[in-house]
Symmetry: C2
Subunit: 163 residues, 2 copies
């Protein structure tokens, strides 16, 4: 049984989702979010992310990790802050010995819903169905993190270990 950690990086909320996969089916093991208080001190905020990821790694001992590519669509400034968080998250997972794979938003959506242009709501409904989660998944960042983990379970043999 393979345990996969998906991370959905954000400047305020970083979602995480841990799933188990036997290669054919997957189920959610844990999910949640690391909330980073607003403030001017980016260094301290990044420490909160590192501590949070560290706790998740210790509690759930995943074998592999996956993140989404940085979204470069809209605002360069936001993408840059996100990249700081993503760097810290990837480093923490790698330091714990995990390979960290990276997937595009289209790959994640396509993996969960069957097509890369699926809406966010549709993806979130599919995540619950595919991973056997009865309750609504809150916050939404946790659902998105589970989607990344699910994507990795499906695509890890075709593409793995990429930054």
């Amino acid at each position: 049984m393979l345990r996969i950690l998906g991370i959905d990086c954000g400047s305020r909320i970083t979602g995480y989702g841990v799933i188990e996969s036997d290669g054919r089916s997957q189920r959610a093991v844990a999910y949640g979010a690391i909330r980073v208080p607003a403030g001017p001190d980016l260094g301290k905020r990044l420490c909160v992310v590192a501590e949070g990821i560290g706790q998740v790694l210790e509690a759930w001992e995943p074998d592999e990790a996956a993140v989404e590519d940085v979204f470069t669509g809209l605002n360069v400034r936001s993408a840059l802050v996100l990249a700081h968080v993503r760097g810290v998250a990837m480093m923490c997972a790698a330091k714990a010995g995990l390979c960290v794979a990276s997937y595009t938003a289209a790959q994640v959506k396509g993996s969960v819903s069957g097509h890369g242009s699926a809406g966010k709501e549709q993806v979130r409904l599919m995540v619950r169905t595919l991973l056997g989660v009865r309750e609504e998944i809150r916050p939404l960042d946790a659902s998105d993190a589970l989607a990344v983990a699910y994507c990795h379970a499906n695509l890890r043999n075709s593409r793995r270990g990429r930054g």
Copy 2:
């Protein structure tokens, strides 16, 4: 005597420079670079940065740290990779209890040379003069890191702790 760590983040080479300041004059204490092997595994590469910064912090025990703002001028892709490295470097310094200040390239140049449009070579010559370094400073990333530290020594009372 205040000990300041300047960090010049890069995707391949991250320079560092440690200076001491008594509030009026500054001198270089140590400088060097963390070299990150090329490769597709960004997580592992970020671990090398974290280990390198950790060693510098342990060896030289700086009181405060400073980095340059991410250069958003040319290539978004390069800026995003840089932001991953910068995130890790800032997190490591903050985790060690240091405030991490951030300065624009113009502030760094202006602080070292007197004007924000100084050329790179001019800045590097001034760094040696201002910090009492007789030999050429190699790699250039280390010189740039010393410049950031010097800038912080000069501007820390007007602007500090910013991300």
